[in-house]
Symmetry: D2
Subunit: 161 residues, 4 copies
């Protein structure tokens, strides 16, 4: 299989424009981040997510590259949703005691502006923490300071097996 993947890579490389080459590098660096456990998921790696968790809020930053674009050349709404769900989930799990986890049960997003610029930054904070559920809010801003999305989500607290 090793050779097959090598061949595939050579093909990709050979037909890459300079822009595509940069994206190929972004992709491979992202893959490597998961491999090296810098990120805990491939998605986190490929999006080059960086997180800061403080007491009751979580800040997550993602650099914008064409990898994140939809076919119109702006950040895909699903990527914004992924950033939001990651920030909320990270925050939810960070405040739970050992042996408990939080899973998203519902997510509502208002898209306010186009996702473009250098990076997106999402800040999530706890609205409500019950014994079985949590409600978490998040805002996403782009590098020029404009808010591009506002979200709220419900999380279900589960006992991990």
């Amino acid at each position: 299989m090793n050779n097959q993947v090598k061949e595939l890579f050579e093909e990709c490389l050979a037909s890459s424009s300079p822009e595509e080459l940069a994206i190929l590098e972004t992709v491979l660096r992202g893959f490597q981040k998961k491999q090296k456990n810098i990120n805990s998921s491939y998605i986190g790696g490929l999006l080059h997510m960086e997180r800061k968790i403080k007491e009751e809020y979580c800040e997550l930053t993602v650099p914008i590259s064409p990898l994140l674009h939809n076919s119109l050349g702006i950040v895909h709404g699903g990527i914004t949703a992924t950033i939001i769900d990651s920030a909320m989930g990270t925050l939810a799990n960070s405040i739970l005691p050992d042996g408990f986890g939080a899973v998203t049960s519902q997510l509502n997003i208002h898209y306010l502006s186009v996702g473009k610029g250098d990076y997106l930054q999402c800040k999530a904070h706890i609205d409500h923490k019950g014994t079985k559920t949590m409600v978490i809010s998040a805002d996403v801003h782009r590098s020029d300071g404009k808010k591009i999305a506002k979200a709220s989500g419900s999380f279900f607290i589960i006992r991990k097996k």
Copy 2:
């Protein structure tokens, strides 16, 4: 830059377990799909999205691999959101006349079950088509037939520049 990317690839390859090798292949094949215009975005390529558009509904299928997982080993909620937003957006744009496009203004998702199995399939249909906005619904099922998500979204109709 060519050599730098080659080196990076060699590094990834050298330290890959068999599972990681399979994911590396999935990633490169996805990259190539965008390169060859089989998909219109890197996200579509990397997720290996396949779409079928019929009159007033759109069906989108994505094979599940560890690439889609969150740190708990199940499909990331943001990926499910990406699949939903893609199916809805594809459908919305398919029914608009030339020169018009649709952008997501709001998205609500209920997560009903864990995303796992061979693939996810999302089916979107139009609930309401006005002159300025559309409301679209979508359900996501996994390969064993279980519904894992139910969503509704608002789209804004814009004149393309």
Copy 3:
């Protein structure tokens, strides 16, 4: 207190236009419906709600009168929400065993068209029934057949005290 209420009624009556008189009657008939236990809440009575519960769906009908209007002379969005929440809640509670109840934890509504005409009819059905939560959908149509709202809600199953 009896006399005080009587006096208040006389005042209302004395300064009522024919339209206001009709509304006063609607209000009093609604109050009486709760008093006679035809409806289980004052809201149900005042809105003159009628329900039909079938296996896994609930249909709720409300006649439109100026009592339901906002200051623009169309049905208040909150009234549409009340009809939706009532239909969903009635359905949720109807399928639970004795000793259990369902409370709304989240509600999302898309308003599609203006509420006007003779009556509004809401039909709710179960999307998902878990051990701790339910997800329920509902559509609201007006008497001329036009869909005016589409909603989905999350319900939490509780043990009644």
Copy 4:
């Protein structure tokens, strides 16, 4: 018709318990508030809504009485939705120039706690104001200070006829 309404009132009065009498009074006072244009809708009157509009926020207060209860004896989720939609709508309309109005296109509510106590207070503020749409947030607190609901809504700006 006058006599018919009088008779109906006498019936209501005659079979009223002291609690019902108090509610009958609340209902009639609410009706009168609309009649006297203290409130601009019957709903606002019956709920005895009081509003304060400041620059970019609106505060709306509603006293709790059994009139607002569902069949479980707590504030009906639809009433909370009505309070939220009223506060948001009032705010939206207050910042628009003459000749323009705002209609709710979508509303999402997280119910966090039981509605009970002396009164509910809703505070709405603008998240986003575009040329065609607005996004507005609102929180509802009860008299003991507990937050019972958190909401966000989309509004469509229309030219009034």
